[in-house]
Symmetry: C2
Subunit: 352 residues, 2 copies
């Protein structure tokens, strides 16, 4: 049987509750579609940090490198600064494994209520393709005149040709596979006048190779407004690291699915493992209570199956989510129900 090696990193908070349900559904899919998942568990988290002073061992990334994919829960906990937790576990994976694509589907699922008035599932169904390694999230910057009135800080955004071209190419290819064949670029070249005009330039260049794709571009400010006013305009949206971060929270928000939104951090060349994680965080307020919604985690699992080439299994998982939501299956509090994490996971594992 086909075998995929999966590194499982539940991480913090509700990640510890949602990953087991993700695995439950993945396991059901594996049995049904005849492949094998070889799991290795890593308990790296903010607790590891409390014990060892590190989020993961020094050779942590090397350990993960052996796997085909990483299945991640959530990273972060009150009291541990983000520059320790996120930058000690999440961001190093994205960077070191050159997961330069962050993929975040934004779909209004049947049976889920959008905060927007009168929107139907067919009207909200787009994907944000986010650059995931450079841009505004740079490691170049600093502070001068500390502690004085003259104090200032700087941070340099860096856009390379390689970085722009590869994320754009991925987005164009993805748009080619979708029926609407439409790609929108997020820019801000009217205000951010060194980097964003270059982004536009590379987008225009890449567009030449894809005459079948209809393209447009909007400045990020009005694009955010359009997400609210005209979500039906969008099919695939390509964006820099920061703009993609914003759009891929706003997109799920307009789709009423911030609690169920999945994400994939992909190295398309498969030189390194890709990583799959929910968009939500560790949710300290509800952690440990068994009430977290596992759907984002399970849906992220579907994206992982897709990446591993298990297309049928991936479709079965998203179909299962869709039926559960539309047919009034058990749902957690955030969706107006009173089911627990386990119950939802089991229900999905059964129908997958």
């Amino acid at each position: 049987a086909r075998k995929h090696r999966i590194a499982v990193v539940p991480g913090d908070g509700i990640g510890k509750e949602t990953t087991p349900e993700g695995l439950r559904v993945l396991d059901a899919a594996a049995r049904r579609f005849g492949f094998e998942l070889e799991l290795t568990h890593y308990d790296w988290s903010c607790e590891t940090y409390a014990k060892t002073g590190k989020m993961m061992p020094d050779d942590g990334l090397d350990q993960l490198r052996q796997s085909d994919a990483v299945f991640l829960g959530a990273v972060g906990w009150p009291g541990v600064p983000d520059n320790v937790s996120l930058w000690g576990l999440l961001i190093p994976m994205r960077r070191d494994f050159d997961q330069y694509i962050s993929l975040r589907p934004c779909r209004l699922m049947p049976g889920v209520r959008s905060p927007l008035a009168n929107r139907t599932p067919a009207e909200i169904d787009f994907v944000v393709v986010r650059e995931n390694t450079e841009g505004e999230y740079s490691s170049s910057g600093g502070r001068m005149f500390r502690g004085t009135e003259r104090e200032f800080v700087t941070q340099e955004s860096v856009f390379t040709r390689t970085g722009c071209d590869r994320v754009m190419k991925y987005a164009f290819e993805l748009a080619m596979k979708r029926p609407r064949k439409k790609l929108t670029s997020a820019t801000k070249s009217n205000g951010i006048t060194f980097t964003m005009p270059y982004w536009d330039e590379r987008f225009a260049e890449m567009a030449k190779a894809y005459p079948e794709i209809s393209t447009d571009q909007f400045h990020i400010d009005i694009l955010c407004a359009h997400f609210v006013q005209h979500p039906d305009w969008f099919d695939v949206v390509v964006a820099s690291n920061l703009f993609g971060d914003i759009l891929s929270d706003l997109g799920p928000a307009v789709a009423g699915s911030i609690g169920i939104a999945p994400s994939a951090n992909i190295n398309p060349e498969r030189k390194h493992p890709s990583m799959f994680e929910p968009v939500h965080g560790s949710a300290p307020d509800i952690a440990g209570k068994g009430v977290a919604n596992p759907i984002a985690q399970i849906w992220s699992g579907a994206l992982m199956l897709e990446h591993l080439g298990e297309h049928e299994a991936a479709a079965a998982v998203t179909d299962a989510i869709e039926s559960l939501l539309s047919e009034g299956g058990p749902r957690t509090r955030d969706l107006g129900g009173n089911a627990g994490t386990l119950e939802v996971g089991k229900a999905l594992a059964e129908v997958v």
Copy 2:
């Protein structure tokens, strides 16, 4: 009588149609409340650029400097690149006149439909205070290895202590004047790790001086989501140049008022003139047809009156807008009516 010197710059497109209506209402307010507006008209625009190669004369800013305020329509026209039009007229004013506050009220007006389901006017009523001179809109950056595979561009975000402190102070003072006394800071210190942690640091420092204000902060990604899901959470929101730009388009979008949203670019010390302009642009698609909605311009006029100390007159103008909208007065297409620009302007001038 009190006299205020106003520089009027209609600019491009619908700016030429909305400023006269703005002036009509301001004039009515001046007569009713007993002050005088001394107007000087400047026809600087993309047409000026076409004729002279410049958006305004070399001493343009000096000419404007004589006035107490600038009343601007819109800047920009197809065929003229943004770095010519915006950076030749709009941005120089913000920078040279040190208009370091951009103020953008986001209100669901009675009689206006929000794209959000089931929201009432009382639930959407907040103000975005945007830093308007530094941050992500910097003039420091460049390109290397042009035309090769190694090509890259950089742009440096710059946050000074002066820049952060003064916009935050303004925001805290504004929050003090509002009944809810609440201030939210937009950050992204978990991803943008040099500049945004500094922003947070200054915010925490400033908060100490305002114990009456309840504060919170959100990363810009989830903050955008909250604008859609919980607009009622917000009272005053303070943000950097880019984040403020995004939030002040998204805010009006959730309030259904992107076509009527006003903005003020303020130099609080009054060392230089402040500038008042609609959030919308020059709208080439409807320009010249007399159908543009003048409310954003007129509302911007109210912000100008407020700044000039004409508080009663300012309130009269916003009240007039509110009644017109809620009582089914004439409305333009964008609000579902079929009135023209002139008709709406006249209706407001009559009741002010």
